[in-house]
Symmetry: C2
């Protein structure tokens, strides 16, 4: 009863408030309205996310939390009546240890630090050196080797634009800064936390060592302490700092992607893949990154099954392991399913938080964006209708080698980087209704792509790799 | 030149935008305009605050930072040509150690904790027990001893109203909760951080043990983790937690109040006291609590001297030590200056952050509020004009025994408790212009009280103690 009323309301809203959908997506408007209505009335996405964060917690690759997430999600997907497999993959295992830093001169003061993921440790006594400030990697290059040799480089370019747009320019110094500094003789790298909230928050994330450069320890400092060091340097004084990191890289550990199929009605060998990542950073509980995506994917699978919406093709949910510090799950899937990739008609990834969906981005062949523009009209009741060219997601990126059309679910990321990769990435940052909108969007797009007779034009395989957000 | 233009502008603003001040404060309007104009054009309050936070850092009583603050502020006040003394006082010396907590059941997860100031340590192996939740001290009483005995009590009343109004109701569980729980047999107390920002922030603050109750360890948890434990308990499960605290109370340490006089022109033995506190909590650098107040008091003294505004009576700046965890400085001043208190014509305290001033609160004799209402008209160019009954401040509270009129500078505290007592209390939370408005307000009120022939009606000595905010 409640369902029926809501479905009618949503359907009439969709019909009344917008121009009639053009032919290609029109046949799916009823299904879309059923999906959206059911999810908003009685969705389970938040319940899934609450389990991941409250009952499992942080899920860094190789940790007990990551393994618990593999087991629980696979079991839960099976409880929906789906075929769910754990596809084994070896993952990096990096663990945190002592984390300590102190400004020794000109004015002693402790500053909180956290190692970047994958960082080498310092010697037990720490690294003690003068600090030199670089505004991003460009700023480092303009300093030159004489200014950098034997020093600790503070990468201090702030994230000046909120949301996903601002992340790319700010994060390069975190991923590549340490190796660039090491090439010029630096002994350690500190990186201003890539984030947009002023709450003395540490934002971790992967450091990516380049083969040719010495592997120097790398840690995040808060925006506040980056500013403090800046002020001390700006006054013309020498800043000396001691950094101690006890992190370690252990041998690779066994883990898994979780892969669940809602088998297609007519062409089960054709696959629409929907993806998120199971692993998270270790400081918070990975609610917005990417527990929310996992919840959307699982909930989309559950809901389509419950509504009896079994489309023509197979919808495959893939919960990838190790997006954050290695992409091992993504690479393993692309490799072990290489033979199937020509029959992957699309892959959609959701890894941009938990806030309201705004549309899609896509890497597709000619004419594909227009076709997605048609499909995205089905999301108008959710407030999402944009389609942008390019992108897709880090985990589905390797599928492009098989010419698989890549789609990213775009979400409102205005506040995402307030919490991203920090201890503050916890359940309370997620609005249950906004999360439900995301789950509904994934379900509608996946269903439509799996049901419509035509498929998206495939992109060229050797095109540039989609933007990666480690 | 720049000065003159600004002063004229401020004076004309004051004259044009408001009704003419009534007789009592009218003679001081020119001085007020000079003070405000000079502070906004060329004030030094922010520079003082930057030194306290960037160069000295955290200033918990008995720490090296607190001692550095005593030395530097006394010296700086002397550099203004003032008579500044360090009045010795012994202070508590409490130091942090290991801080660790882990939910053991139903779902293992580490939670960040920080000891409340003055807490006893746990045994080295920690305290491990079931958690029972109490919504404030009233909630604890309604649980009863059977529910509490042998357990860890989580005090989980949230701070629901922003600003100073919301603090009082929320903080009682932090100061008194541990002893109330201990009386009922609890083995430790966890307290939801008293704050208004969701950033996984720990807010410390003093625990006040009552003599009759066992002294159990007490620690703050973040709002996020208090909510997590609430959800686990609300699902009907038993939550077990291990808490480890290595904090220690060392022998009392020597420290000092810093007392500086701008000697009065005609009646130097009559004193208008202006106060803030030098000590801070140890997690942040004490910018808003109460480095800002220290900067306002010092700057008011400097500015009046520089402008040649030497009033009839003495203006005495007192930078108290140990407001946060003992009020030793406040008690020592009241005691050693007891003979002078009849000649303290007023005491004004600023300890509510660094944002724009909104007015005054006061504990005064009959007719005193009206007189202050007259004086506060001089602050209209700053946007401050309210006068509220009651209060004054924790450090000047003991002066009421000597019937000293007590005045609190009221500031906009909307965001104050986002950072208060947390690691996020750092310089960047202070807007230089708003801080200047506060410094100007202190200088205008102090000057007027010290210059006007009449004095404020004195309050009765035995009236109830003013609200204390440790």
């Amino acid at each position: 009863m409640r369902h029926a009323a809501a479905l009618a309301a949503v359907a009439s809203l969709a019909a009344a408030g917008t121009p009639s959908p053009p032919p290609a997506s029109a046949p799916y408007a009823d299904a879309a309205a059923r999906i959206i209505g059911a999810e908003l009335l009685d969705g389970r996405a938040y319940e899934i996310l609450a389990h991941l964060t409250d009952r499992i917690g942080p899920r860094l690759s190789g940790s007990a939390g990551a393994e618990a997430a593999v087991e629980w999600t696979a079991e839960r997907l099976r409880s929906y009546g789906l075929e769910a497999e754990e596809e084994r993959v070896m993952v990096p295992r990096w663990v945190r240890g002592l984390e300590e830093a102190e400004i020794l001169a000109p004015a002693p003061q402790r500053v909180p630090v956290t190692a970047l993921g994958g960082s080498e440790p310092t010697p037990a006594a720490g690294v003690t050196a003068e600090v030199v400030e670089a505004v991003g990697i460009e700023g480092l290059q303009s300093l030159g080797a004489d200014a950098v040799r034997g020093r600790i480089v503070l990468f201090n370019a702030p994230m000046t634009v909120r949301g996903m747009e601002g992340y790319g320019p700010a994060v390069a110094q975190r991923t590549r800064g340490a190796s660039e500094a090491a090439r010029l003789g630096a002994v350690a790298a500190l990186v201003r936390s890539v984030g947009t909230l002023r709450a003395r928050l540490l934002h971790t994330g992967a450091v990516s060592y380049q083969d040719a450069a010495p592997r120097i320890p790398a840690a995040a400092v808060t925006a506040e302490d980056a500013d403090l060091i800046h002020r001390l340097l700006a006054s013309g004084e020498t800043v000396r700092l001691r950094l101690r990191l006890g992190c370690r890289t252990l041998p690779d550990a066994p883990s898994a992607n979780v892969v669940a199929d809602l088998r297609g009605r007519e062409s089960p060998e054709e696959i629409v893949l929907i993806a998120a990542h199971l692993d998270s950073w270790d400081l918070g509980t990975g609610a917005v990154d990417d527990g929310a995506g996992v919840a959307m994917v699982m909930e989309a699978m559950r809901l389509l099954g419950e509504l009896g919406l079994r489309p023509r093709r197979t919808i495959r949910g893939v919960l990838y392991m190790n997006e954050e510090n290695g992409l091992r799950g993504a690479k393993a899937y692309a490799e072990s399913h290489a033979a199937e990739l020509p029959r992957h008609v699309a892959a959609l990834e959701t890894d941009s938080g938990a806030a309201r969906p705004t549309g899609l981005s896509a890497t597709v062949g000619p004419g594909g964006l227009e076709r997605l523009g048609d499909i995205v009209r089905l999301l108008r009741p959710l407030g999402a209708e944009s389609v942008a060219a390019g992108g897709g997601g880090a985990d589905i990126g390797p599928l492009q080698a098989g010419s698989v059309p890549l789609i990213g679910l775009r979400l409102d990321t205005t506040r995402y980087f307030d919490w991203h990769h920090s201890a503050a990435d916890t359940l309370d940052k997620v609005d249950p209704r906004e999360l439900a909108l995301g789950a509904a969007a994934v379900a509608v797009v996946a269903y439509t792509l799996a049901e419509m007779p035509e498929t998206l034009p495939r992109p060229d395989p050797p095109s540039p790799a989609p933007a990666r957000r480690p």
